[in-house]
Amino acid sequence: MSAIAAIAVNTFRESVRDKVLYNLVLFAVLIMGASYLIGQLTAGQDVKIIKDLGLSATAVFGLFIAVFIGIGLVSKEVERRSVYALLAKPIHRYQLVLGKYCGLVLTLTVNVAVMAATFYLVLAYMAYGASPDAVRAWDAPALDPALLKAVALILVELALVTAIAVFFSTFSTPILSAALTFGLYVAGHFSSDLRNFQDVVDSPSAARLARGLYWVLPNLAQFDIKADVVHGQYVPPGYLVMTTVYAAFYIGMLLVASMLVFSRRDFK
């Protein structure tokens, strides 16, 4: 356990030293600039737009970190040969995979937490300056705690995307891993369409393939509750729990597969 923690902390440190968290500055500038501009242009809808923008930016920035760092987590260690000295230490190969994964999830957690805090600060500023009429027109209060439910599911989805990226990076090149991870991400967001594919195609084999993919691919659309929380719709805690369990199942499967592939790999 301590080996996994040590590797995770080092992975987090790598992200910090490689200036990955600089994206937070970009996020802050984007969200503050947008709040100023939208405040000038729209009446009554500004908080809703900022909430939408803030949550979407959190998801997109996180996605880029999860994919582009995730694909290099293991493959970079192998390419640069830093894995040689590391695996000579009294650790198992699976601990390296888990440690790297946990390190990136830690980076994403810090990233998402700081983004959420920045986002709330901007919303607080907007609420402070809003007229009583504008506040009455809002579907939900500016500092709605329900936003955190959307933020939590964004983080869970990013943890799943990271597991996908790590899985591909254990046996593939970074470019191919990035393409496959993005491909799976997009397919995962449209996987519910695969279920009804038989209604639009004549070929039974294509329909069977689509149905098979539907069962195999993670349904990432489930993690997207941005529209619900922005419009003040109630999201039950049970939904959060079930979606998180669903993600944990996929993450577990992907990490086990990654560890199995990595544990028998030759480092030529």
Partner: protein, 308 residues
């Protein structure tokens, strides 16, 4: 007691994408290294030295054959705790400082607190980079990285160290430092198994060597006992000697080359012992400049093996 044993260790790599064929990198290596000895693993580039070391460290897995280190099968974590490994041309996380890297690796050996700090500090001083401990590794030269690599291999005070080309990238001063470090490790009772393609390193350090070429073991044992490296004669350089004194040596001289007015390089057979010839010549007024055994170099041996 053996520190390291391999039996018919073989490694094939798949080459090519479609219709991959097997390329044999190591072919049935059987070897043993005694505890406490400095063992040189010699061979030209591509001989299979690094593959062997990677097999021992389980960075690659054998196609067939077995190996044991410190009496336990490969991959045993209790053995890894007692082993130090320096990879060839090591690369470390360049965003870390030397001190941070060693602290990180020391943590993997469950070293903590003051003990860890003291050991990291001592090792950095021992390999000569104590002054650069807080410099990021991306600013290190190749030789400095090699020193960091050696320091990280010694963090756990190992019973067996495996060095892959430890002199690589080092200047003469660095080579001398590493040589004396290896001898210090030996004096401490540590077994040192290192690969090299430089004969002088092996001559200076090793009790025994193994020579590998094209993936096969060609010779092993004491360097001086190996037929190709036994002296085949003596090269004697003398000054202040007359042509008559040289001519008087007769059949005890194989060949003579004049290298100055009264200076000669003499090629003497093994028998009679060179002391007698030296005695005769010095009695005739000559000065001894140098006396060296004539033996095949490792490079000659490699060429012979590779072209055979």
């Amino acid at each position: 007691m053996h520190a390291l044993v391999t039996h018919e260790l073989t490694k094939d790599y798949a080459v090519g994408f479609w219709r991959a064929r097997q390329r044999r990198a190591l072919d049935g290596l059987t070897l043993d290294v005694e505890a406490g000895e400095v063992f040189g693993f010699l061979g030209p580039n591509g001989a299979g030295k690094t593959t062997t070391l990677k097999l021992l460290m389980q960075l690659v897995f054998p196609s067939s054959g077995t190996a044991e280190m410190l009496g336990r099968p490969l991959g045993d974590l209790s053995v890894k705790r007692r082993i130090g490994y320096l990879p060839e041309n090591p690369y470390f996380y360049d965003y870390l400082t030397a001190e941070e890297l060693l602290t990180y690796f020391a943590g993997l050996f469950n070293l903590r607190g003051a003990d860890r700090r003291a050991r990291v500090s001592r090792l950095l001083d021992e390999v000569g980079i104590g002054g650069e401990r807080r410099l990021q590794l991306r600013k290190f030269s190749k030789g400095m990285l090699q020193r960091v690599g050696i320091a990280q291999a010694l963090l756990n005070e190992p019973d067996l160290v495996i060095f892959d080309e430890p002199m690589s990238g080092l200047d003469p001063l660095g080579r001398r430092d590493v040589r004396s470090l290896i001898l210090r490790l030996r004096d401490r009772g540590c077994t040192v198994f290192f690969s090299s393609h430089v004969l002088s390193d092996a001559e200076a350090l090793c009790s025994r060597v193994a020579i590998l070429a094209k993936g096969r073991l060609r010779a092993s044992g004491r360097l001086t006992d190996m037929v190709p490296f036994r002296a085949s004669g003596w090269e004697l350089v003398v000054a202040g000697v007359s042509d008559a004194a040289i001519a008087a040596l007769g059949s005890r001289l194989r060949h003579a080359v004049r290298i100055g007015e009264d200076r000669f390089t003499l090629d003497l057979p093994l028998d009679p012992p060179p002391e007698r010839v030296v005695g005769e010549l010095t009695a005739a007024g000559a000065h001894l400049v140098s006396l060296n055994p004539i033996r095949q170099t490792l490079e000659d041996f490699f060429v012979e093996q590779v072209t055979s």
